[in-house]
Symmetry: C2
Subunit: 637 residues, 2 copies
């Protein structure tokens, strides 16, 4: 029944050999990996304007310069990550780069930062999209949490169906948003040149008076605005995580997609910032109306069909930004699982050749976060830039070290120059992102960023503990050089309650294994039943000796375990094979009618060293059981 | 942990040999078995008065005659059941009598009637007691359901600790109630003779005018009042169910207790009825104030300490009436379990030598009923007289037939006279209770009695179905006369994922059983892992052949099941022994870190005919595993 539902939802399973077909062409890779950065640029300008507004009109005039700085950093980070795509074609992003160059602890910091970031991305993106929807349709506002969780499930399902499937589904909204934004620029340019462009809604809003302008205050304000604007960079590293998902040549395609994404992001960011400055759009702390909707209102005309279409596309791209996480997280979790920092189950590909366990884990964590924070965007949004910039910084420092080692292998002068250039790029990027990290941490710590830091710390120690555990188990069960040693002797015990077909089958099989000692064991809970058993035993002339254990407290386990312990004490070199005949029930109500003691005995015996448990099942209601009762069998006593 | 709590609540387990110590002396048997009848008489008068009031003052004058009729029936039924105690000293009451004399269907009707009745008794008694408490302490009224369920649990716990323990605990309230009632009679007589006895509270209440008095109306009214008054008889059969719980001589002690109970019941019933008539007490439909509390108010003085003490004792005896059911139901369920009409687990005695499963089942059913009816006394109270009188009727008709068969064995004339006398008693009782059954059914059917009937019908068919199922299974697994046949050949398959200690242990044990064919099997989910396995296999020079199954869909079960099916097709006479090495985890979090595929494979294989599953456990973290790695072992390849 579960199988039927699963097939309906997810589709037919794919053979492992078809993994090549699931690889992404560049045009589908963009919606899959780049929806987060593209949606971020829609809001980066707003964050800059909001931060600068605290300094009054004069500070707002610096908006273009801050924008330029953010765009420059974006170029640096994109160039930096292009190197990573070539240097590490098996994916893994910041984790692999850090592990190879900076050591295990740095790698785990990067990994936990990314994991936390991905979960937050899903939660924040979807809640932002739902907020956009509920501000348009007020009646849905009380159901924000349910709506958000529903979107999480929809995204998870689309990704469970397959990477290319999710790419096709999300291509339309993604390219649609890009297209509409470019259209907005075009129309805005035309109308602006023609002079028919109205100012933004909030243009007339009063600002706080320009405070003491100069020195340290300005610098801090600029840093804060710059750090807020860096939200435009979130999601850039996802492609470097997922290089293996690209078609061949994987590194080249990944790098090209990254460049394309960078170009699109800069164009959109630049255009939005330019329009925001031109239209004197101000940002409200509660995000309503958003800067981008004000621009659309001015350019398309407030209330026009294009305006509403753009609002819808904005909401869609916000929700889809989560899709980047749905492709980054499972791949990273799979790599961590393969390296034994997370449970190995995350490493397996599911029916559709995606990392199903990772997708489900992400969906569960994000849903828990949304429910826990009651879909409160203000609280959530402060948390997730930290993870991104931690991984940026570690990744780029790792690349610096990587090039350092490459130089040591003695390449020719032309290569040396190229390597040095790459190394310089990475170093600049690393330093700038490190500064941004500090600024972000300092400015956002009182808003709740400590929660993200706490989660990262917990994950760090958890992953390290898991790795140590797996290493300990591996060491414990590693085979040594001794050849295959057999047990000194086998002492077979067959548990009997009544002499029926299942018991006879267990006796027969125990005999067939030719143990050194064979005996049947029964527990005397009911004197009448024990006498009956002895009588039937003799009547069937069974040569296996029947031993009766006293069960003075009607308890089955204790006398059995005591007996086994005595056996082990007397013969420590023997292995005790316990044969348990049991009914196999096919219907649920049968379990109510048959004693479940076999199950309890089995479970308890599994914990007893030196004991092996043999289940001899008897399928009730199955006509032909083959052996036992069949005249083609050997007959012996 | 569960064990510790269980020990604290229930006490230390008792050896089976101590069963004799748990038998009841007569003085403790009274609180255990007779609390229901004794509490019923407290309310029987009220029911008679309530029913007669519909006919006006003239009808109320017939109250003493109805009371005499009820008392007479009580004597007949008590005498009748004394016979049953002697004739059936192994207990079982109506079920055993019906089965022996009237056939299986009648016995099942009696059994289902009694089972339903016992569950209702617990629910009704406890809810009545809680109603008495909440009418005194209004603040507890919203918590009636919780309070009722709490009382159910307390009674269940007291009974789980042992029959004698529950008897001791409940002796004080039971004898206290009896004593206070007799005291009430004494004081009532003294004050009445002295003329200082005030009339009852409701004496001045107006009654409906005397309607057309005569003929069919009067007859119906009298029958209705008589049927309502028969609530005094509920619980009389419980002693005949539980004869085995008495000390020797069991039948005599049980019969004596029954007589004592009958005498006490008649005295109390007579006294209460006499006082009710004298004080002109009227009954209100909602039960407030109850007739017995009005009598206590007049005799002891409203608001006096004795009055409140009597109210408390009344509430206590109401709650304790459930204790009769807690001793009747488990014994009956045990007998039904032994005869395979109910799951056999109900037949086993628990740690304290009581039928724990029956006690728990009763508590669960009663609690469910209380919660389902929201502790609504009106709805519940209509339901449970049906079951009692069904079992009365069947039991007494059964005894009539029993004596008929005794007569056929040709006893001497003196015995014949005695038997005929007994037979006549039973016949009269049977006919009267049959009439009462019809009247009760007709008068209460619209009040919801259909629910009790429906429950009885469901139980009837359920018990018959269970019996048929057990019979079918027994026939299926009954051993035939063929001697112990061994399988034609044993084909051993050892499931390997990696070559570690657990896998080596499984291989070694499989070798030790000397099968006809031995091979190791692995599933190729990861090419790299499969290559590694082959390499290690050759490195360790293991002579067991390693077979690699393709797993194109990464699914472990299907390729394995297909392979096993092929094996069975090629060698239908072989048994396939699958050896599964597995980690045994001691901590809960370990299960998250290790693949649970072993469990799924095992479960699925149990359903495959011709396959035997051998668990080769490896206890993680246990230092000395004995065999394997120990130099005292035989070495072979």
């Amino acid at each position: 029944m579960f199988e039927v539902v699963k097939r309906l939802l997810v589709g037919r399973p794919l053979r492992s050999a078809r993994l090549g077909e699931t690889l992404l062409p560049k045009r589908l890779a963009l919606p899959v990996f780049c929806s987060d950065p593209i949606s971020s640029v829609a809001y980066a300008t707003e964050q800059i304007v909001l931060a600068l507004a605290a300094g009054g009109v004069a500070a707002l005039r610096l908006t273009p310069w801050v924008g330029v700085a953010v765009a420059a950093l974006l170029i640096v980070v994109v160039t930096s990550y292009r190197q990573t795509c070539y240097a590490y074609p098996n994916g893994g992003g910041a984790f692999v780069v850090s592990r190879d160059n900076l050591g295990e602890s740095a790698a785990l910091v990067a990994a936990s930062a990314l994991l936390v970031d991905y979960v937050m991305t899903v939660a924040v993106s979807i809640v932002s999209g739902v907020v956009a929807i509920t501000s348009a349709l007020r009646s849905l506002a009380p159901h924000a949490v349910a709506l958000s969780v529903a979107f999480v499930l929809v995204l998870a399902l689309a990704n469970l169906r397959g990477t290319k499937e999710s790419g096709r589904v999300f291509a339309v909204p993604t390219y649609g948003f890009i297209g509409l934004t470019l259209l907005m620029f075009l129309i805005g340019a035309i109308r602006g040149l023609g002079g028919t462009l109205p100012p933004a809604e909030t243009a007339a809003q009063p600002l706080p008076p320009t405070t003491a302008f100069g020195g340290i205050f300005t610098l801090l304000l600029l840093l804060r605005a710059f750090a807020s604007g860096c939200t435009a960079l979130t999601g850039v590293e996802a492609i470097s995580n997922g290089v293996p998902a690209f078609r061949k040549p994987k590194s080249r395609n990944a790098a090209l997609t990254l460049s394309a994404m960078g170009a699109i992001a800069i164009v959109m960011f630049g255009g939005i910032t330019a329009l925001a400055v031109t239209l004197h759009a101000h940002a409200n702390p509660d995000g309503n109306p958003s800067v981008i909707s004000q621009i659309a209102g001015s350019v398309f005309g407030a209330g026009s069909p294009l305006f509403y279409l753009y609002q819808a596309a904005t909401a869609a791209i916000l929700v889809l930004a989560a899709n980047t996480a749905f492709n980054g997280f499972p791949v990273l979790a799979s790599i961590l699982g393969r390296n034994r920092y997370l449970p190995r189950q995350l490493h397996n590909r599911g029916d559709r050749l995606v990392f199903s366990n990772g997708i489900l884990l992400l969906a569960a964590a994000a849903a828990a976060l949304i429910i826990g924070f009651d879909a409160n965007i203000d609280k959530l949004i402060q948390l997730y830039i930290l993870g991104v910039f931690t991984s940026f910084t570690l990744s780029q420092f790792g690349m610096v070290k990587h090039w350092h080692r490459e130089l040591a292998t003695g390449p020719d002068p032309r290569q040396r120059r190229r390597i040095r250039r790459a190394q310089a790029t990475n170093l600049v990027g690393a330093l700038v992102t490190a500064v941004v990290l500090v600024v972000v941490f300092a400015t956002k710590i009182e808003h709740g960023a400590w929660l993200a830091v706490a989660a990262m710390i917990v994950l760090f120690f958890l992953m390290r503990a898991i790795n140590r555990y797996y290493a300990r188990v591996s060491a414990e069960v590693a085979p040594d050089q001794t050849p295959l040693t057999l047990p000194a002797s086998v002492h077979a015990v067959v548990l009997i309650s009544r002499l029926h077909k299942p018991a006879l089958r267990a006796l027969a099989f125990a005999k067939a294994t030719r143990p050194d000692v064979l005996e049947a064991l029964t527990l005397a809970t009911d004197d009448e039943e024990t006498r009956e058993l002895r009588r039937t035993w003799e009547q069937h002339e069974i040569t296996v000796p029947l031993k009766v254990l006293e069960a003075p407290y009607r308890d089955l386990l204790r006398p059995l375990l005591d007996y086994i312990r005595r056996l082990r004490r007397d013969q420590p070199r023997a292995v005790i094979a316990v044969y348990i005949p049991e009914y196999v029930t096919t219907r649920w109500w049968q379990t109510l009618l048959h004693n479940q003691s076999a199950l309890r005995i089995k479970a308890r015996l599994l914990f007893t060293p030196g004991v092996i448990v043999i289940n001899v099942p008897y399928q009730l209601g199955v006509a032909s059981q083959g052996w036992l009762g069949n005249d083609q069998l050997r007959t012996t006593r």
